[in-house]
Symmetry: C2
């Protein structure tokens, strides 16, 4: 995320939290900034290392901030990578799906109604009530496919 987008994202987070009457504290803002600044998913201990420069910190500091940011929908956790990314549209709660490239590590966040719908239908059939759908597709992004093709 470039500097401009980052500033915008943080400003948006500020105003969202103000609306909601929740506190985006310095720690939380710091962690959010670090997550957003990275182009790719970042691990909790990567964040921790960066938080440590210029201040003390231990794992719970980072995990608490991450848990809160997750609850606010400002970041997402990628279960398959044990890593976190900034949410691209935190305005409304949503069920996201992720396309994760094993080649370059890039991640695309989708909000696909057809996927959400098919999950919902399948769940209904068995009387299951979904609360948190986790959809992460590992594979190869188009850029990496192209590179491979050119290499041959």
């Amino acid at each position: 995320m470039d500097e401009q987008t980052l500033t915008a994202a943080l400003a948006r987070a500020e105003s969202l939290c103000a609306e909601r009457g929740v506190r985006l504290t310095a720690q939380r803002r710091r962690v959010l900034e670090l997550v957003c600044r990275a182009e790719r998913p970042v691990g909790a201990y990567e964040i921790l290392d960066q938080v440590r420069d210029g201040g003390k910190a231990a794992p719970p500091t980072v995990y608490r901030a991450l848990d809160w940011l997750l609850a606010q929908g400002l970041v997402h956790k990628l279960e398959t990578l044990h890593a976190y990314i900034g949410c691209t549209h935190p305005e409304h709660p949503h069920a996201s799906q992720f396309l994760i490239c094993s080649g370059c590590g890039c991640v695309a966040e989708l909000e696909d109604a057809a996927i959400a719908g098919s999950l919902q239908s399948a769940a209904e059939e068995t009387g299951f009530q979904p609360s948190r759908p986790v959809v992460e597709v590992l594979g190869t992004c188009s850029d990496c496919s192209d590179k491979r093709r050119n290499d041959r």
Copy 2:
């Protein structure tokens, strides 16, 4: 999994491995049995504890067996739980989806064409080539919903 189903599952695993010309060794069989015997997903260290009774073992012992069983499609890994379950239909390779109950911990394995299809379509749109789709829906199973209703 009850004793009868378990025996059947192990027998089926035996014959599958024979067909494929791969070796279901004592260790692997042991781990498969422990995973299948459990009604619910089991963590690697839970397995390790059980393998330790009556023999020595260290983490690599269990992880090697699990990796091999995963590759053979005899067990699945649930990324959101860091835990493993026996596959309900190991005969053919397949993309499964899981419904995971946060109440009782039970897991239903689906093989839903509509879900797989919608994932495939969404990926194609962006030129993404899926290799391993991970679909795990956390929520509440019908039994647990019923219990909650009755409690009120």
